[in-house]
Subunit: 197 residues, 2 copies
């Protein structure tokens, strides 16, 4: 029914994460109707990002410069290193605005099922970074999943002999969380880790 | 925290219909990670659509040609004209694959609240089209909302004196719909319009 240009546009948009055929059509129509104000500016920022953004070869975050602005920021504490699974987790940590050290993006976690071994992750570079720099604490801010915990265990075994403090995020009841709706594992962990009020 | 290129990309993506800051970030990251396979092809189809797709000056649908491929298709019945509010509704009708006539996209419906009068819609061109062509039936496929129904009433008053049959879509229980979950208006309409089984 539609011209191939519109069909291809819808097809490509529909495959983006969180979109489907219906929302793909909706976005396509929105763009085609607001050409001056939305479509052209969007294409421009996409072209810009596609051309300029690269992966930092120190921490593996995304930025327009390599090394990235975080790695070269003199105000960040070079003694603390926060290890995250993904760039999205780095962005999440930065939104919290509490950690002032440096990052290291692993690019995934160890997973027997998905066939992800240490070679597929930025682990070798992490070890070299810790060995060569003034890092005293490595915070393993990985997901509280089985694979995340396996990776934490693996990295702890590697890092502890190097003389650095290795820490992980605290587990417990999420802020605003109701006990009744919490899974047993979290409640158990929160109870075991109880503190004096 | 992020480079301006990434921030702008997220900002623009977040404003698309159905997306927000979280899904905007997710899509941006997805694009930046899959540059060869997703990001560049998407930019290419967007550039293509932006440059080639135009509004048909006969029916006001979107297509790469003007008049559009529907208006110039010799297999379509030139005696039937289906009036829709929006290009999205034309696409919906075409997916049903039952109507084989021509279309006319109004570009909205009359609305006192939003200040949309007959001059803001493609009504003058609709009247001229009906007057000059061999159209015998005009199907007003507008939404079953107050504004849609007002527009149907207004258009019927204009079109009926021109000697064409004016029809609207049937109202009733949606296919697969359960009576218990239906609003009273629909159930009332379905009951009033009951047919012999």
């Amino acid at each position: 029914m539609n011209s191939p240009e519109i069909q291809l546009l819808i097809q490509h948009l529909s495959k983006l994460p969180g979109l489907g055929p219906r929302s793909g059509r909706r976005v396509a129509l929105h763009l085609l109707k607001k050409r001056e104000k939305i479509f052209r500016p969007l294409i421009q920022v996409m072209l810009d990002a596609e051309q300029k953004v690269k992966t930092c070869q120190v921490c593996f975050a995304l930025d327009a410069t390599d090394p990235c602005s975080l790695c070269t920021d003199p105000k960040r504490d070079p003694q603390q290193l926060c290890v995250v699974q993904d760039v999205a987790d780095l962005w999440a940590m930065e939104r919290v605005n509490t950690f002032k050290g440096l990052y290291h993006v692993l690019g995934g976690v160890l997973s027997a099922i998905d066939g992800v071994g240490p070679q597929q992750l930025a682990i070798q570079s992490l070890i070299e970074r810790v060995a060569k720099s003034q890092i005293t604490e490595v915070i393993l801010a990985l997901n509280a999943t089985v694979d995340g915990q396996t990776t934490i265990h693996y990295l702890t075994e590697l890092l502890r002999p190097m003389g650095v403090t290795v820490t992980t995020l605290a587990h417990g009841v999420p802020i605003g969380g109701e006990l009744d709706y919490l899974d047993e594992g979290t409640l158990f962990t929160a109870f075991q880790g109880r503190r004096s009020a």
